[in-house]
């Protein structure tokens, strides 16, 4: 679905020409191995690069220039996937065709070149005051998770299940590592990112493919780099016993997280079967959890399951009255038992495959969706298309789902609830 052009060894451009959108969307991804310290450095670096550059040393001037380009969107962020840390530069501008002007995309490209290659250096390094300000911003981002009870409960579950592991590492690193950053740290991180990271560049929109590839080659002076792509597979987890952890905050509702491990992770041949299995359990509004915990028992407004494929974790999340924790855990267990006993109807399976199909096709109705879905699945197949993957789901049988469900192991019951409960 994307045309691939190797700009340099380890630097690839993926282009998708389409008239579907009124904008041109670009995403540049720097991929490196996930390391907690480096995550902190890279998170702050992406904020600092986003703030200003040599042409626009003040953030407000950069933002004014973007406004002049018809509100061209530009932001950077840091994320993780498996044991990779990914810094992304994202841009979206209106296609000239819809404007009473021309050259918006060209101007935006020039700006991006400056952002990457000509940072806002003072005496050969990053401005200390900007670095300090953005350190604070990232620390506040890390701390803010506490205020979002659902996210906090999820974070705690991962920390308890997989301590000191990519599964529980934050893509912004730790507060302590962020604190330790100096301009010199960032300069080193910047150089390594620019010279050593694997780089994927995506462009989606109504553009001429060859023209764009030539332009990118001449404008962006990325150097060749050695990149060895390793498939990350979570080490197998021995579950000897199920742990229960209850923690308290001042809150009314209970946030329940039930964590299971599965030997099937993203690169496993059974990955599509496990996706369907999660869908039958709790991915949708027809799924077992929704029908039995929410609709039949009226116990929850939110109850669903998710599959953290890279880390071999399936987890159930529910917002419940904390007094009903035991009952909820029992009901959730019964849904898993039912699946392990092959108690799955053709209807449930068909609905799940139909909705997985709908979700991947729908994701392709946005440029960002096309980029993110392809970027993930291309690790399995560079020739990935939605149709190919849908065929994989359609081939999944009830027996496959039963087998997948039989391999999952209950590892942790975590409840975050009010102090008086």
């Amino acid at each position: 679905m994307f045309t691939k052009v190797e700009l340099q060894k380890g630097v690839n451009l993926y282009i998708r020409k389409t008239e579907q959108f009124k904008t041109i969307t670009m995403s540049i991804k720097w991929v490196a191995e996930l390391d907690e310290k480096q995550a902190a450095y890279r998170a702050v670096l992406s904020n600092v690069l986003q703030d200003s550059n040599a042409d626009y040393p003040k953030q407000s001037d950069l933002r004014k220039a973007l406004d002049e380009l018809y509100g061209t969107v530009f932001y950077m962020d840091a994320g993780k996937r498996g044991n990779s840390h990914i810094v992304s530069l994202n841009m979206e501008c209106v296609n000239d065709e819809y404007l009473s002007t021309s050259g918006v995309f060209d101007e935006a490209m020039k700006m991006i070149r400056t952002i990457i290659f000509n940072p806002n250096f003072q005496d050969g390094t990053f401005d200390e005051s900007i670095v300090n300000r953005e350190k604070r911003t990232v620390i506040e981002r890390i701390r803010s998770i506490y205020d979002d009870k659902g996210r906090y409960a999820h974070k705690r579950m991962l920390e308890l299940m997989r301590p000191n592991d990519p599964a529980s590492m934050s893509s912004s690193g730790t507060e302590k590592d962020v604190e330790s950053i100096t301009s010199a740290t960032l300069l080193d991180t910047y150089k390594r990112m620019l010279d050593e990271d694997e780089i994927d560049i995506y462009v989606v929109g109504d553009i001429q493919e060859t023209e764009l590839a030539e332009k990118m080659k001449s404008m962006f002076g990325f150097t060749a780099r050695d990149v060895t792509r390793k498939q990350y597979v979570q080490p197998a987890t021995e579950v000897s016993e199920t742990r229960q952890v209850f923690e308290r905050q001042d809150m009314k509702q209970g946030k329940l997280q039930v964590g299971y491990s599965t030997p099937v992770s993203f690169f496993h041949p059974d990955y599509p079967k496990m996706q369907v299995t999660n869908g039958v359990l709790g991915g949708f509004a027809h799924s077992k959890l929704f029908m039995n915990v929410r609709e039949k028992e009226s116990m929850a407004y939110t109850v669903n399951s998710a599959y953290a494929a890279y880390y071999g974790i399936v987890y159930v999340m529910a917002g419940i009255d904390a007094d009903l924790e035991e009952k909820a855990v029992k009901l959730i267990g019964e849904q898993i038992d039912a699946m392990q006993n092959g108690n799955i109807t053709d209807l449930e399976l068909d609905q799940t495959v139909a909705l997985l199909t709908n979700s991947i096709r729908s994701a392709f109705d946005s440029a960002r969706g096309q980029i993110e879905v392809y970027d993930q699945y291309k690790q399995l197949d560079e020739e990935f298309t939605a149709d190919k993957w849908i065929a994989e789901w359609k081939a999944v049988s009830i027996e496959d789902v039963r087998q997948m469900a039989s391999q999952i192991r209950l590892e942790l019951i975590y409840l975050l609830s009010g102090r008086e409960a």
């Binding site: 209106v94 001042d250 949708f284 609709e295 116990m299 209807l347 946005s366």
Partner: protein, 432 residues
């Protein structure tokens, strides 16, 4: 069927008002594989005092009923409607706002079968006391979830501090107590009053053939019996100019304080072009005053008064409107002073120039073009505008005609200090 073409946007909109009064809009989008269909009634949480269909006297119904009704629409004698959509590969949902209740699905397959499911389940009410009772547990959990969400508390608390009388100050879902009063009879009464086709709109967007779809919906509606359209009589209280409270502080289990500065809009009785112009003018004004290019933002960010959570917004509907400037902050009182100073100095000395306006205008035009990539945005925004007699596709020409003088007018509608409020959530225990 009327066909409306917007050459500059390369979009064509099809519209027909059916015999039963239902408005149907269809917008085909090239290259899209999904179709998004919404069925919306002009009925939300603020419609709590009205004359029920067939009656003569005003009644006031329990708070949270529009939202409760939305939940119960999915529960039929033969089972849950989600199951039907699931078999047909559609992802279905619904939402209730202050002014609207919307039922929707998106699908890449079985478009007509799914459309039929949507039209039928919304037009065939089925409520029993037993089912109503059972739903109370689920909705109580939904309400408690919002109780624990500091961002929602900060947002909604600000609205409550701004509005003394107007029912936007009542939580859309009601409270755990008010929903206990709801009966099946209430639901039927509200349904009969507000779900007549003449009070509703269908919007179809994405992969769709307009002629076929219009025929399909028309045939479906012609095959069903509806009573004659009647004018709906709603009653809303008068809202004073002043904010209900000047300052509200709420303690919650949070790490950092959350700040919100609310500005109640003084001019909201309008519709159509005039309303669209004021809506866009206030938005442009906020961009210039509080956007990332503003002096306010630069200083507040450098001085550590705001962080990544910072944002501002303007909500505007017939009858109410408010602007908000929000952020997590360690220094709520300094942030408050900075916002107040920004407003005050503009009131004393108008500094916004033609250049400022032109730049903000370009940004908004680009943002609008970008949002036309999203069929969900078009559908929801079009319907909201439509219920206020505005046309979404007039946004660009209206933006192009806005003058600095319009911004001055817009500023006057939100700059009165008496209409301002400050909401802060501070770390602490709710129980204390």
């Amino acid at each position: 069927m009327e066909k409306i073409t917007f050459d500059n946007l390369q979009e064509t909109l099809f519209h027909e008002k059916l015999d039963n009064g239902l408005n149907v809009y269809i917008l085909p989008k090239r290259g899209f594989s999904k179709t998004y269909v919404t069925f919306t009634t002009k009925y939300g949480s603020i419609d709590r005092t009205f004359i029920p269909r067939g009656k003569k006297e005003f009644v006031t119904v329990p708070d949270g009923i529009a939202h409760f009704l939305e939940h119960k629409m999915f529960d039929k004698k033969e089972g849950d409607v989600f199951q039907k959509f699931g078999v047909l590969g559609a992802s279905a949902n619904a939402f209730t706002s202050f002014t609207r209740t919307s039922y929707l699905f998106s699908t890449t397959d079985n478009l007509y079968e799914n459309t039929k499911v949507l039209l039928d389940f919304v037009q065939e009410p089925y409520f029993t006391e037993e089912k109503v009772e059972k739903e109370k547990g689920i909705i109580a959990q939904e309400i408690t979830m919002y109780d624990d969400n500091p961002d929602w508390q900060n947002y909604f608390g600000t609205i409550q501090s701004l509005y003394k009388e107007y029912p936007v100050n009542i939580d859309i879902a009601g409270t755990v107590d008010t929903i206990q009063e709801i009966t099946a009879e209430h639901l039927y009464e509200c349904y009969e009053t507000f779900y007549h086709p003449s009070n509703m709109t269908v919007f179809v967007i994405g992969a769709v053939d307009p002629d076929e779809m219009m025929n399909f919906i028309r045939d479906d509606q012609n095959s069903k019996d509806f009573s004659e359209p009647e004018e709906i009589r709603r009653k809303y209280p008068e809202e004073p100019l002043e904010a209900s409270r000047k300052k509200t502080v709420l303690e919650m289990d949070v790490q950092r304080p959350k700040f919100n500065f609310g500005m109640k809009c003084s001019r909201t009785v309008m519709e159509g072009d005039e309303m669209l112009r004021q809506d866009l003018a206030v938005n442009l004004l906020l961009d210039i005053l509080f956007g990332r290019t503003s002096e306010f933002y630069t200083k507040a960010y450098n001085d550590h008064l705001i962080d990544e959570t910072y944002h501002y917004d303007f909500i505007f509907e017939k009858g109410y409107g408010f602007a908000m400037v929000e952020s997590d902050t360690e220094k709520p009182s300094e942030l408050e002073a900075a916002v107040r100073t920004t407003l005050k100095s503009l009131a004393e000395n108008w500094t916004i120039t033609e250049d400022d306006l032109n730049r903000a205008r370009k940004r908004r035009i680009g943002q609008f073009m970008r949002s036309l990539n999203s069929i969900e945005f078009i559908s929801n925004q079009f319907t909201q505008y439509n219920f206020n007699d505005m046309n979404l596709f007039d946004v660009v020409p209206t933006l192009e005609n806005i003058q600095v003088a319009h911004l001055q007018d817009a500023f006057k509608t939100i700059s009165n200090e008496d209409s301002h409020t400050v909401m802060t959530i501070i770390p602490g225990s709710k129980e204390d």
